[in-house]
């Protein structure tokens, strides 16, 4: 097992409705998905965002596309009245990718998510 950031093993997209931030993690295979379901709990996500999110965090499992959705209430500093730069939670998904999980070495090794823009994979 090794301790990695979510950025190394999954994708993410986030957005808003009012003062609610809506984030979804995407795994690349069923084994990774099941491990993330086990470890990335609503409680861990709420703790990760700390004071940035004042309301409850709900989780929805969407196995047809290997996705885990988090709906975070009171997450955007007041929605339309928010003074933050990111009033729409567009960066929240990326902030979640800092969360660390424990995964088997082979799961990490096969992930294509570890590619970086300064060393992009060869085409084809």
């Amino acid at each position: 097992m090794a301790d990695v950031m979510l950025r190394d093993v999954c994708g993410v997209r986030s957005g808003d409705k009012g003062d609610v931030s809506d984030l979804t993690l995407f795994a690349d295979d069923r084994e990774t998905y099941d491990l993330l379901v086990e470890q990335v709990t609503p409680g861990r996500v709420a703790a990760h965002f700390g004071a940035l999110v004042v309301g409850p965090v709900e989780r929805y499992l969407v196995p047809n596309v290997l996705a885990i959705k988090f709906v975070m209430h009171g997450a955007l500093g007041g929605g339309s009245m928010s003074l933050r730069s990111d009033t729409q939670g567009k960066t929240h998904g990326l902030s979640l990718l800092r969360l660390r999980v424990d995964l088997p070495h082979d799961v990490i090794a096969r992930s294509t998510r570890r590619a970086r823009p300064d060393s992009p994979p060869e085409a084809g």
Binding site: G18, V65, R84
Partner: protein, 437 residues
């Protein structure tokens, strides 16, 4: 098979992307011009000018759409009518006449604002409701080439041409859900073809030839999401699934005006070559209510940003912004709320950014202080204090003077409150105006 192209996903988007959708040779180009805050801007526009309240780029888009309607029969559906589709329609008809078009039909889809549900709160500026596809379907049934709607829900804009073409029944929940899923995928335009993609974005983003999404929809609701040949971006299982669940909350119960969609039932099949089949989507009966939004005055806001150079850039930013706040407090200025952000160290991530073990003193940090006040006078009073910073600050400050001048004065804030309204109250006011020029 019907081909629908997304021509716009956000207010103010480049018109080149709109043209690209027409160039792809689709049957319909559909534009989503509105968002919660966009409608707020239009509400403020209309307060100053009763003929305003619609997206001003409508006319430039019309100049692209009308020749395509005449030459190729491509039809255009948009919600750029905003909070004043009647005025938008009148200007569009006048524009078409000025340009010498003959025989094209331009329609407006209009609903009255719902009654104010919180009559005792802060004075209301406007209310609106998210209408379904029926008004646009009627306009298309009456042979409109261009349909200018007000606040019709995003997905419903795309569902409407499918209901018109395939005569889907209004209780055929499976097909309505399939068509609404197509709309949900296309309504944010480039976000379905590699934009915002969290994977290898360096291989998908190229603004020289961006590819708007296209849906090829069969009579049974099955749809292939694709993009024009030779364009950049990517349509794959991974790029499409990111958009499938975007901003929907409970994926099994995505509420639209026309149907409740179960996105967790969708099957995405990557057919390679930038083609993804979307099939198997289930739907449930629509609800008896529509989403409404109430806009009221929420006070005023302004902000200052300043950048300090190494060393101790973060500490210098924090010291200056805190000192500004203390000065305002001493002066008795009424500030309802402050917001401090420090870009370069924790601006977006806040507590998610680990603060322990930081070994690098950043080369520069940008501090941002925003404030909200009940009155314009208080917002201005804080902004005046910014003028004290310049030559009396710690060393290494850059950029502040120019920023203050460029940003101008404080701006009004809008308070948005969602509510549910009986659908009958909204739908009974629907009017479809079709005018031939």
């Amino acid at each position: 098979m019907i081909r629908i192209g997304a021509g716009q996903g956000v207010y103010g988007e480049s018109i080149d992307l709109f043209r690209a959708a027409f160039d792809a040779g689709v049957d319909y180009v559909v534009c989503d011009s509105l968002a919660e805050t966009t409608c707020g801007m239009l509400v403020l526009d209309q307060r100053g000018d009763e003929t305003a309240g619609w997206a001003p780029d409508l006319l430039a888009r019309l100049d692209v759409a009308l020749p395509a309607a005449v030459a190729a029969g491509t039809r255009w559906v948009t919600n750029a009518g905003g909070v004043n589709p009647v005025a938008a329609h009148q200007r569009a008809v006048a524009r078409a006449r000025e340009q010498g078009f003959r025989g094209v039909k331009i329609a407006a889809v209009v609903h009255d604002p719902p009654p104010d549900p919180f009559a005792d709160d802060a004075p209301v500026l406007a209310t609106l409701a998210y209408a379904g596809a029926a008004g646009i379907v009627e306009a298309l049934d009456r042979d409109a080439d261009v349909v200018i709607a007000g606040r019709v829900a995003d997905a419903a804009l795309f569902l409407a041409p499918l209901v018109h073409e395939y005569r889907w029944a209004w209780d055929d929940w499976g097909r309505l859900a399939a068509g609404s899923t197509v709309g949900h995928l296309l309504e944010c335009s480039g976000q379905c073809t590699g934009g915002t993609y969290s994977g290898d974005w360096w291989n998908t983003v190229d603004f020289r030839r961006p590819g708007p999404p296209i849906a090829e929809v069969e009579p049974n609701g099955d749809a292939v999401i694709t993009k024009p040949e030779g364009t950049s971006g990517r349509v794959s299982f991974d790029t499409v699934r990111e958009q499938l669940l975007y901003e929907v909350h409970d994926p099994t119960t995505y509420l639209t005006p026309d149907v409740v969609v179960d996105l967790a039932s969708a099957e995405l099949v990557d057919q390679s070559n930038d083609r993804v089949l979307v099939t198997g989507v289930r739907g449930a009966p629509r609800t008896d209510t529509l989403k409404g939004l109430r806009y009221s005055v929420g006070g005023y806001t302004a902000e200052v940003t300043l950048t300090f150079a190494w060393p101790d850039a973060e500490a210098k930013c924090r010291h200056v912004l805190r000192s500004l706040r203390a000065t305002a407090l001493d002066a008795g200025v009424g500030v309802a709320e402050w917001c401090e952000e420090y870009f370069g160290v924790s601006g977006f991530g806040g507590p998610t950014v680990p603060s322990d073990g930081r070994t690098v003193d950043p080369p520069e940090v940008t501090g941002r202080l925003a404030w909200r006040t009940d009155t314009m006078a208080d917002a201005v009073a804080v902004q005046r204090l910014v003028g004290r910073i310049g030559l009396f600050s710690p060393p290494g400050l850059q950029g502040i003077g120019r920023r203050v001048r460029e940003r101008g004065g404080p701006v009004p804030m809008l308070r948005l409150e969602p509510f549910l309204v009986d659908r009958e109250i909204v739908e009974s006011t629907r009017r479809v105006i079709v005018e031939e020029v």
